[in-house]
Symmetry: C2
Amino acid sequence: MPKRVDHAERRTEIGEALIRVAGRRGLHTVGMRDVAAEAGVSLRLVQYYFQTKEKLLFFGLELLAERFGERVSTRVRAAGDSPGPREMVEALLMAALPADDESRTFHHLYTSYAVLAVNDPALAAQPFIKNPDTAEDALTELLRQAQEAALLEPGVDARLEAAGLLAMSAGLGTGILVGQRSPESATTVLNHHLNRIFRTGEVVLP
Amino acid sequence: MPKRVDHAERRTEIGEALIRVAGRRGLHTVGMRDVAAEAGVSLRLVQYYFQTKEKLLFFGLELLAERFGERVSTRVRAAGDSPGPREMVEALLMAALPADDESRTFHHLYTSYAVLAVNDPALAAQPFIKNPDTAEDALTELLRQAQEAALLEPGVDARLEAAGLLAMSAGLGTGILVGQRSPESATTVLNHHLNRIFRTGEVVLP
DNA sequence: ACGTTACTGGTACAGATGTATCATCAAAAG
DNA sequence: CTTTTGATGATACATCTGTACCAGTAACGT
């Protein structure tokens, strides 16, 4: 057998090229040739590792979701060291906002895929429908912990609150993406809402 | 001069055809030929009334925003008759959720346009960046009125709350669109948040 | 009546796109 | 060393897309 190449690695390289060029010029504009050029390989090679464009796109989506999931959980873990649950909640929500280029690209492409999924059942069955649920579960759990520590205002439903916060974060993210809103104002909005969920520092007289 | 045709009306017909076929098959798949077929006219005619595809897409976006704006304000006005401000706020937010086909199409296409706008400065300058601001102003005003009527919990910032609610509504809308969430659960989430903003019916002892 | 002009149809063209085909290279196995 | 087979390259092809071109038709002013 001939030159053995790590297929998985190659596929990842090409997938990253897809994400880069799609993030730069928009997912709807990229063809196989663009991906090949961005990855510095021949068109044939892209065909070889992904037989069809559809499969390439699927792989790109997987990669995107995986990378972003790692990013978020890294940030949450980093925030989970010293302070309280609120800092972790903030870290989770802020990490999802398209404030820097990486997150911006993620939002952009994720939304692109979501739009495609509306008319493409095969895409709609992909993991990016699962990931938000995972995030919702994680955030719900964080809120529950905060609740048990009596850090939340009474009457808060952890699951509903988690769903609402994530939806708000996603909506604000879109606003940032299209230039309607600055990351700072989005942060302000989110914090204001967290202030209404978490108990303020005021000491309640016994 | 020959057969006089109402240009504006014809353009609207074609624009509606665009919205229909794009809503059905996805904005990224529609070409001028599809629009022509959907409108029951020749390709040449689409070219005649809109010289270029770009102009057709712009017109479609305007039409979409206009129609949806009318829809929302109609519903809000309908709710504004008898009850209180909360009903109007609910009407505004619920009307924006993709619960029925019309609203679903709007969300779908609006998001499609938003994605395109990320890489297309000409699109980014279009009105759909303005409309959300209008909605935010309107909702802010509704919340202020509720605030003056002492219907809101203390410590609520009307503008921040309006921005957050609209973002949440948009995020929930996307969730519905991709099949991640049902309209009912989205309504539940929104109502839970409204319950935390509006004062509950409990009578405060004097 | 008639020409001008708004409107409409048919079709061609250049470019891009996804995919398929044919051929080559190189390394591992015998 | 030869053969086998995974990996790569160049290119052809059919299709679709936006746009341009060339014409024909019908109504209005004079």
